[in-house]
């Protein structure tokens, strides 16, 4: 039933995106593709942090793995897109499994540090082996719309379609996973690993699995990025990308898939919009150039102060009086369930409860 509901929701969303892409101009179509890329990347990270309670500062590196896989498959083997996307996700899932095996033994700042290292080190492999990865210049891939759509079909609309479809498939899979037994188990080990272990859950295996799923999603996002930007180069996978993904996940609301959309919208649209405003008001170059960064920071601070649960959490709180009463065991009627509630859906953001030292131990 859950699957059916998610599929219907995805079909409705797909129909609206299709209608919008036909109406909008070519640049808006391109932005739609970009948003789809970030939605997927942030959703994967959000599942990792919000559901399984682990952190990663290295998701930019996983995107790089997916992007290079996609580029190599398309350049050397001429694989079609429908095969390239799953293959990139699968290869990145393998990388995620390796990292996850180490990550399951680390927690808190140690895990953050280890994944940070990944974000810094992995892209430089591309400059180390220029023969395979094209060095600093990277690999160039070209995606053209199928001839059946006609010669005048805007290429960016094709990109928007491809990326939106991939994003919807990924979101349906993640939504179902989150509502399944695996998702419930992730919440259990997140909230209290000791209690979860005593209940018979294999905490380490669940953590590795979360990393694998999250990395596969990031790999798919990387392949989508490769297609969107038609180039895969190390300069695209800097540390700031990993940080931006984390910021997007927190901004949107950790552990929620809708939150991933809010995060992606902020990351893609705020800089463009603010640049437009700044340049149209004739600000000097040095000032105008830095305004998007300042605006992004301001949005981040404002959201964190006003909606500590992220945008999705804030919206839910604002909408709470108008929605049917959610089931609660601790909260009063008419309020959203308290954070960490096991019955929560994927649309309610996770706020990490205070964890005492003894809970963090015994994780292996």
């Amino acid at each position: 039933m859950t699957l059916l509901r998610h599929l219907v929701a995805a079909l409705v969303a797909g129909a609206v995106i299709w209608a919008a892409s036909v109406q909008l101009n070519a640049f808006r179509d391109f932005q739609m593709a970009q948003i789809a890329v970030y939605v997927v990347a942030i959703a994967g990270l959000s599942v990792l942090i919000g559901l399984s309670g682990q952190i990663s500062l290295g998701h930019g590196a996983f995107m790089a793995v997916g992007a290079y896989t996609a580029a190599l498959l398309m350049l050397h083997l001429n694989w079609p897109l429908w095969a390239v996307f799953p293959a990139s996700a699968a290869v990145t899932a393998l990388a995620g499994a390796v990292v996850g095996l180490a990550a399951a033994r680390l927690h808190g700042p140690y895990l953050a540090g280890a994944t940070l290292m990944l974000a810094v080190a992995l892209p430089s492999l591309a400059t180390r082996f220029p023969g395979v990865f094209g060095g600093d210049q990277g690999l160039s891939v070209t995606v053209i719309p199928p001839a059946a759509l006609g010669a005048t079909f805007p290429p960016t609309r094709w990109l928007a379609w491809v990326c939106a479809l991939a994003a919807l498939v990924a979101l349906v899979v993640l939504a179902n996973l989150g509502r399944s037994r695996i998702g419930r188990n992730w919440r259990a080990i997140r909230d209290d690993p000791v209690a979860a272990a005593l209940s018979g859950l294999n905490v380490a295996r669940l953590r590795v699995l979360a990393f694998v799923v999250s990395a596969a999603t990031a790999g798919l996002a990387g392949a989508m990025l490769a297609v969107t930007t038609s180039l895969v180069s190390p300069g695209s996978f800097t540390l700031s990308l990993s940080i931006a993904l984390l910021a997007g996940a927190v901004l949107g609301g950790l552990g929620t898939l809708t939150g991933a959309l809010w995060g992606a919208l902020v990351i893609v649209l705020v800089p463009t919009y603010v640049t437009d405003v700044a340049t149209s008001h004739g600000l000097s170059g040095g000032v105008a150039a830095n305004i998007p960064i300042a605006a992004y920071g301001a949005v981040l601070i404002l959201v964190m102060i006003m909606f500590p649960d992220g945008i999705q959490g804030g919206l839910r709180r604002l909408a709470a009086p108008f929605l049917p009463t959610p089931p609660t065991r601790l909260g009063s009627p008419g309020r959203p369930p308290p954070a960490g509630e096991h019955t929560e859906g994927l649309d309610s953001p996770y706020r990490r409860p205070p964890v005492s030292e003894h809970q963090e131990e015994g994780t292996s």
Binding site: R5, H6, V8, A9, A10, V12, A13, V16, I17, A20, L24, N25, A26, F27, R28, F30, Q31, M32, Q34, I35, S124, T127, P130, G135, D136, Q137, G138, S140, T142, L225, T228, T229, S230, L231, S233, G235, S236, L257, T258, L261, L265, L269, T272, Y273, T275, T279, G285, G286, A289, N290, P292, I293, L323, P324, T325, P326, P327, T343, G345, D347
Partner: protein, 443 residues
């Protein structure tokens, strides 16, 4: 599970799609109109009866911003000068340069915005090899002129694949050949060591050097990547090889690191540094800053003394050169806040070339007429050597002079040399003289 969950999902789906649509609609009303000035004068996208809209991707923030962010502002200063003096056939140039932070993904994004949203007539002076490589195919398939790219990569000069792209500055292969010819003549029999950035920039430079310097003379070839500042091993290897002359195709920071590493081990070869990594003002500042980090005090100007380099624009401070006088004047009127350095000179000179090309493209310019105008050759302007533009050559400048840094400034040594990018092509003395800048300051 229960009723509320069942209700919520469609709500989310609606919210998702509504926001996507809202995001898309955002400011699309202001876009796509392009030639709102209308009339017969709107001959191409970005051209109206009173305006020429051009765009660029530039590193205004991020690691490449110091120095390079001055270039676009300086170009804009020259365009303002032109606009104040009647514009191009009455049209004012509007230059929209967006920040890509030297990140190729962002380059793709901002160039799509400029082409699809702002409907620019042309992309002008897009900066950086890895960044511009991300958009060169896109610009050529959408037939947007991609003129005077701010990178000396020989890769732009490919009219068959990139009919709409044009380089401008002296390419690194020619530069390597000119430096190589000087070394072959003046350091015959000496041991030569190479120090180069391991990308298109350094590799093209080495290619040019190898066309001229006998291979038996080259005793060591050391490369670096810009992300790793530990160049101790390379410096040690160069010293151990007994190199008496070190040729560096490096960016300023790595020229400074190499010089300091040599100083530390008491090794004092002759340094020959490409134009990119030899701006005396930048170098002196970096040398002093790096030495300070290491707890030492050095005089930057003393350390750059005697470095051999080359230049394709007249040397700064030479006020008897009419071009320097013109650009200093424009700079002090429209861009006085920035220091008058090599980046500002570059930005103004390339803007002058663009105005030259636009005038040649005619009263009702089209994208094709701009490409045709440049392919038909441009008269020599602020550069010391002529351009080599033709239907089969989209490279740019043909030559440079050799200079030596003396007391913090580059001093020209001897004539201007020109050459081509082939292994057999000779390095010959340029027989012409640089024309003076027009008194009006307009091409």
């Amino acid at each position: 599970m229960n009723k509320s969950h069942r209700l919520r999902l469609p709500v989310i789906a609606a919210a998702v799609t509504a926001s996507l649509v809202a995001a898309g609609c955002g400011s699309s009303s202001s876009s796509g109109s392009g030639g709102s000035g209308g009339g017969a004068a709107a001959s191409a996208p970005g051209i109206t009866s009173n305006q020429i809209l051009i765009g660029s991707h530039q590193p205004l923030t991020g690691p490449a911003a110091p120095g390079y962010s001055e270039i676009s502002a300086a170009s804009n200063a020259y365009f303002q000068y032109v606009n104040a003096h009647g514009g191009v056939y009455g049209r004012k140039i509007k230059y929209t340069y967006l920040d890509d932070a030297y990140d190729p993904s962002k380059t793709v994004s901002v160039v799509h915005q400029l082409v699809l949203q702002n409907s620019v007539f042309s992309i002008f002076n897009g900066l950086g090899t890895p960044t511009h490589l991300a958009v060169v195919k896109y610009l050529n398939t959408t037939k947007v002129p991609d003129v005077f790219i701010a990178s000396g990569c020989d890769c732009w000069n490919n009219p068959a694949a990139y009919p709409y792209s044009f380089g401008w500055q002296l390419d690194y292969v020619r530069e390597g050949k000119i430096l190589g010819a000087y070394i072959k003549q003046h350091f015959a029999g000496k041991k030569i060591g190479y120090f180069y950035q391991n990308d298109e920039f350094g590799q093209d430079g080495v290619k040019g050097l190898d066309f001229q310097i006998p291979h038996s003379q080259v005793v060591s070839r050391q490369s670096y990547v810009p992300t790793n500042v530990n160049i101790g091993p390379q410096a040690a290897a160069l010293k151990a090889s007994g190199a008496q002359v070190v040729v560096a195709f490096s960016i300023p920071a790595f020229t400074a690191l190499l010089k300091l590493a040599a100083l530390r081990v008491g090794w004092n070869p002759t340094f020959v540094v490409s134009d990119v990594g030899s701006d005396p003002i930048t170098l002196a500042g970096l040398l002093e800053a790096f030495a300070k980090q290491g707890g030492a005090t050095v005089s930057g100007n003393a350390l750059t003394q005697g470095i051999i380099t080359d230049g394709y624009l007249p040397t700064l401070g030479n006020m008897s050169n009419s071009w320097i006088a013109l650009f200093e004047k424009v700079h002090s009127t429209y861009d006085a806040k920035a220091p008058m350095d090599g980046n500002v000179l570059y930005g103004e000179a390339v803007a002058y070339t663009f105005v030259q090309a636009m005038i040649k493209a005619g009263k009702n310019p089209t994208r094709a007429s701009l490409v045709k105008a440049i392919s038909g050759g441009l008269p020599q302007g602020p550069s010391v050597a002529p351009y080599n533009y033709s239907a089969t050559d989209h490279g740019g400048m043909m030559g440079a002079f050799i200079g030596v840094i003396k007391n913090g400034a580059i001093v020209q040594q001897g004539p201007v040399w020109t050459t081509d990018t082939t292994s057999a092509g000779a390095v010959t003395q340029f027989s012409g003289t640089q024309p003076a800048a027009p008194a009006s300051g307009m091409p």
